[in-house]
Symmetry: C2
Subunit: 501 residues, 2 copies
Amino acid sequence: MSETYDQLCEHFREIAVLGSIGALLDWDARCMLPSGGAGYRSDQQAYLSNLLHQKRTDPRVGDWLADVVDSDLTADPRSDSATVIREAKRIYDKQVKLPADLVEALTRAENDGQHAWVEARKNDDFATFLPFLETTFKLKREQADAIGFDDCRYDALLDDFEPDEKTSRVRETLEALRKDLVPLLDAIQGSSEVPDASLLTRKYPVDSQTQFGTRAATAIGFEFDRGRLDVTHHPFCTEAGPDDCRITTRYDENFFNMAFFGILHEAGHGIYDQGLRKDYYGLGPGSYLSLGIHESQSRMWENQVGRGRPFWEHWYGAAQQTFSEALGEVAFDDFYFAINRVEPSLIRVEADELTYNLHIIIRFELEQEMLDGEIKAADLPDAWNAKYQQYLGITPPNNADGVMQDVHWSAGLVGYFPTYSLGNLYAAQFFAKADDELGGLAEMFRRGEYLPLKDWVGEKIHRVGRSCSAAELVQEVTGEPLNHQYLVDQLRAKLGPLYKI
Amino acid sequence: MSETYDQLCEHFREIAVLGSIGALLDWDARCMLPSGGAGYRSDQQAYLSNLLHQKRTDPRVGDWLADVVDSDLTADPRSDSATVIREAKRIYDKQVKLPADLVEALTRAENDGQHAWVEARKNDDFATFLPFLETTFKLKREQADAIGFDDCRYDALLDDFEPDEKTSRVRETLEALRKDLVPLLDAIQGSSEVPDASLLTRKYPVDSQTQFGTRAATAIGFEFDRGRLDVTHHPFCTEAGPDDCRITTRYDENFFNMAFFGILHEAGHGIYDQGLRKDYYGLGPGSYLSLGIHESQSRMWENQVGRGRPFWEHWYGAAQQTFSEALGEVAFDDFYFAINRVEPSLIRVEADELTYNLHIIIRFELEQEMLDGEIKAADLPDAWNAKYQQYLGITPPNNADGVMQDVHWSAGLVGYFPTYSLGNLYAAQFFAKADDELGGLAEMFRRGEYLPLKDWVGEKIHRVGRSCSAAELVQEVTGEPLNHQYLVDQLRAKLGPLYKI
């Protein structure tokens, strides 16, 4: 039995080695690769993917699992062995349920879709993109049907990103969130207080942004001897090994927020990855719990910490020194209001802390309707624009900045979007609890101390790995189920005084 | 038959994919990897090496080869198919001759040896390094015996780096070279003309060095849309794909030569790699011929082109503008003499164009004696120092800058050193022929034109791949066998007027 378990572990450690090599190739492709190298890089990645798929569906895994799944090793569901076995089984069961031709068709559709998307978005040409979108959603329906579900197709896809979560529960939570956010947004839009956001679009030299962002990332606890920061087009964080976490950002010399809050965000992801258990790298106990939990760690450092008043009470002097031309004469309160401006806008990735969730809800609703066949791909632009008008009071002037703004659907990432908002909600609830338990985070932040919070999330969240579900983790850490009220309360507490509402 | 051949090609293309992934991991480890990531990177590389060894020794390769090796496909030895088959057979035959436990012992000895070398060199502690050196040479003897040889053990090892070359022939060539270089060096040392080398150790800002070096590398034909230039400790050039060639350098703010001639050198390697046939990437027709031929391409751009008077007649103005503080007031002739200074020195990688070859000859002689058991590892320091006194007139003050200065032996690279000098000789002979055939390279260089030379070596050398041996290539391209006189003549022609000898 124990020997079988060891073989299973060894096999998944091998998968982790291959996966980490793939992660490095992907990082390199997005940060370093000369343009001419893209073609062969695809070959390299396809080769690794194929090898990974072979390893994941190796029939021996099924045999090993059959031996251990109902053994002493799984008696305590929170034990390391039970976690290893449960996660191995989750991966194996899903992979073997997918017919080889569907896997191949999905891979092709995702590659073709992304290329088509890049071109179509550039030319604002939804008609050319439409057949790719139709194919992807058709295949995602087949994927959901092959995997199976109790309640709705969306469940089967959501599970890839937020294991064990249910669509109905997410829908309920996000609906409640929306109902609280819309009146708050209305009040803000009715306020006569308006921040001067132009001070954020002055000249912020790129070298200084790198230096300042690196300082902040180091201060909150990202370990640069086990990680790097590089430049890319679409920022991300990836693990090329247990001690090799790579975060990325992009710079706009005339916009402070993009790189700075981007770096805090990715450093938050990185701190989670760096906090995972190394002894179980690539196995359940050393894996991130879900994308929502991952996002909670990035959002917490970006928003609850990095957009808070106490944080800037410590850092604003340094910011003024570093960016003396842009901020030398700017009063603290003006800067602080500007970085917390709320305003409905077209583009999700540029949205503020409040309206961001409305962007997500729109996508979450539309992709469910697409999967259930309630709307057709051809009708997506109209449906998209109608919802933007309804929830945000604006209508996209074109499809490039409307329904085609995100890569996700073209890349087959259906069921991914809600994890962003779940992350915001988890972050708020965890942060409130940490503040309770640690007593006075604000005072620590004013002194530039982040280690207590980093250690707290490290112990309560990072080292838990996948030993439970996200819902269980929230209950365990905060003593109650997921509750959207924490985020709403925090937004009200911050935005109320700024907008005098 | 043709189907078997296709399978063979497919298999070696797969090996090329894996090899290129390994190359990327190696590049990353030497240029990008955070310090903490080294341990897991070794695991990743060991995993790939193991997979590569499995593929290379796959018994099917033996079966396929048996089918095609004496077929129509090999009728014309210069044909693509014959080249593919011959190179596949060379790799397969060698790999299967090596017992698995020897391969494992060699891998371990190379890893342990390199780590021991780094520490031992740092502490100038030959005694600690000695057992590793003994183990490596013992295993290299076993390797040579397992592979087999007609004449001497060294032949079996040399073949890894310079296929089909014979030790006796190299010995004869290098001996003749030494006999011509020593009197030339004596004459230079007796000359009262001495360049002012201190002008090269003024302040050369690193950013400017990068920019100037990149400009020069681009001008001679390194394609940056199919390659990169990065910073590392021990510069190298590697291929992570047919359109992804990565060169590296290191900077000393107070020394012009290191980065600039280093970049030209690595760009020369890179131009060769970029000039290989893409349709046969990883197969014989698309592989570099030998390390000596590879080195000829780097040396030619570094020395025959980059240290020549016509090159600087074009570039010196730009250099003075870029490094105005260091060179603004320096006369052309003083600069040109300084970059061509000849002086016996301790360290091979810092040696000038002439004495460099004496460093190589010392190593070449010593490693033969080690393999034949004529001297023991414990006696290497004394033997080393005696030869430095004999050939260069200097005695290393310690072993760190003496017998322990190079990584090669610790890394199991025995038989590698002579390829450096072969490269110098090939470079001189090819360059002389190119000058003949193209007519007036000097005039082109004065105009900043390098494309004719790049195209000439591309057609005559790069696109030949491994379709013949280096000796055959030299005969074919230049119309005569390898002849050390070309290098000696070129050195005399350049150094004579400078030193007035």
